[in-house]
């Protein structure tokens, strides 16, 4: 059973003429990192919200097709309780994801496990683990409202890590992080996949993720247009015509007139042009 299954899924937001998703089929497997990318409005965020069941439960609108998250239809009211704590959704802006009642970062990270009624010892262990993994342990006693954007984003991710989720849905999780922070989160994604979780990340961070994900799915106009191993897809020309972008080096090579397959990293570029 795939951790996440879309089969001919369509989704239209209320009052919208155009569908945000149509004929969308994809799978995300446990133990792997699946990377979604696409131009703005291509549907990657909607795909994640649908996978979490928040579309249509919170957003309204109509969903068609078959969508199973951990084997359950997330749009059903009964799925809320069944999936609670097993699916981690991380959204782009960290400030609005704070609980609103935590006085310290430690309390913030403990928010979800406490809501699920976990025993205190388990909560404390997971919170310590999660804070350490996101390197926010030194901020444990800080007021979450006083954190910088990057610290807040890492705190929010730690808050999800504390739950030991089976499925990660990450929407631009590194937008506020510096290079070190991004590397931290990428390493976390790999470790979570190694642990057996399914990691789905929607991101435009092409330079960062091509060595992290097993599968890249490029969305165009609400449906997956390209899929394959990231390096293969990014070296090609189709990724550009699909409205997405490849790595900076590949873009440079393309602008310089180099045909596909193009180099992806600085080292590959040097190897190519130093000849």
């Amino acid at each position: 059973m795939s951790a996440l299954l879309f089969d001919g899924v369509g989704f239209t937001y209320p009052g919208s003429a155009a569908a945000a998703l149509h004929d969308c089929s994809l799978r995300a497997e446990a133990g792997q990192v699946t990377w979604l990318t696409g131009a703005l409005g291509a549907g990657t965020s909607t795909a994640l919200l649908s996978a979490a069941g928040l579309a249509p439960r919170h957003t309204g609108g109509d969903r068609t097709g078959l969508l199973l998250t951990l084997g359950l239809d997330p749009a059903l009211p009964s799925s809320g309780a069944a999936l609670g704590g097993r699916v981690a959704l991380v959204l782009p802006s960290p400030a609005t994801q704070l609980s609103g009642i935590a006085e310290t970062v430690a309390q913030e990270v403990a928010f979800a496990p406490a809501n699920l009624g976990w025993p205190r010892a388990r909560i404390q262990a997971r919170v310590a683990f999660a804070m350490e993994a996101l390197q926010v342990t030194h901020l444990a006693r800080r007021d979450p409202g006083t954190l910088s954007g990057g610290e807040m984003q890492r705190t929010v991710i730690a808050a999800m890590l504390a739950l030991e989720p089976e499925l990660w849905l990450l929407d631009e999780p590194t937008s506020a992080l510096d290079t070190a922070g991004r590397a931290l989160v990428h390493a976390l994604m790999r470790r979570e996949a190694a642990r057996g979780a399914a990691v789905v990340v929607a991101s435009e961070d092409t330079d960062g993720l091509h060595s992290v994900a097993e599968t890249l799915i490029v969305f165009t106009n609400g449906r997956p247009a390209l899929r394959g191993p990231p390096r293969e897809v990014l070296r090609g020309e189709q990724v550009w015509s699909a409205g997405a972008a490849s790595t900076a080096i590949a873009g440079l090579a393309r602008a310089a007139g180099h045909a596909a397959p193009r180099p992806l990293t600085v080292d590959e570029g040097v190897a190519l042009w130093a000849r």
């Binding site: 979490a52 919170h58 704070l98 909560i123």
Partner: protein
């Protein structure tokens, strides 16, 4: 809301200051004469000082002082009935009694309220409610609202400054000002709606509003002293009401 954790008041069980403040308010309203009211005020100040939040008693004097002056003038100086001479002034005896009663009532309530404010800790309150197994939703609602107030105030101020710097005229004719209501309130309201959207997603993902009983992260100790204080205060409040109604 400052945790005030360094003080004895901060170490009390969170329900204790709440119950005590409520009882002080009830007794204050029920107190019929200057002596009772003054005794209540004295006891309140004593409690507040003893629990380490004595500054609340002082801070209460700021709004109280002008009120006391007003009461003194209105009832004491301008009151009717037989006069009594105090320090060369001719004051109404009945008016003075009324002024003292009112002044002490207000003093007790203001002091207790400020002390409550100084010792309230949102996290401890949420933990106390969770410890009892009561609904998390209501305690979340209260605390989240309290935490939201300064955030919204700051945002409102920033919007006002931003619009002013863009040339929005906030003074002038009433029509001008009414026209300015939109540009000033809309950003705040729209921002709030967007935040509600995203925070709703986040709260759902983090299982807020679940029917499971929330685990208290650091349950506050409910000592014998706490319970005794709450029972005594409640009994005194009930007695005061009965005395006032039937006495």
């Amino acid at each position: 809301m400052t945790p005030g954790s360094g003080t004895a008041a901060g170490r009390l069980h969170p329900f204790t200051p709440l119950v005590l403040t409520l009882c002080v308010a009830v007794i204050a309203v029920a107190a019929p004469d200057p002596l009772t009211a003054a005794a209540l005020y004295a006891v309140t100040v004593l409690l507040v000082v003893v629990t380490g939040v004595g500054r609340a008693a002082l801070r209460a004097l700021v709004p109280l002082a002008p009120l006391w002056l007003f009461l003194f003038l209105l009832h004491g100086v301008l009151g009717e009935g037989d006069r009594v001479a105090v320090m060369g002034l001719s004051l109404s005896r009945a008016g003075l009694a009324l002024a003292v009663t009112q002044a002490c009532r207000l003093g007790a309530i203001a002091t207790a309220s400020l002390a409550l404010h100084a010792s309230f800790s949102p996290a401890r309150f949420v933990d106390a409610v969770a410890d009892r197994g009561w609904s998390f939703s209501w305690s979340y609602l209260l605390v989240a609202t309290l935490q939201a107030l300064p955030r919204f105030r700051a945002r409102a101020g920033a919007i006002l400054d931003a619009q002013r710097s863009r040339g929005l005229r906030l003074r002038g004719s009433p029509l001008n000002r009414i026209r300015a209501i939109g540009p000033v309130t809309f950003p705040l309201l729209l921002g709030a709606l967007a935040e509600v959207d995203e925070r709703g997603f986040a709260l759902e993902t983090r299982c807020a509003g679940e029917v499971t009983r929330r685990t208290p992260l650091d349950p506050p100790a409910d000592r014998a002293g706490d319970r005794a204080a709450r029972w005594l205060a409640s009994a005194a409040a009930v007695a005061a009401v009965i005395w006032r109604v039937f006495g």
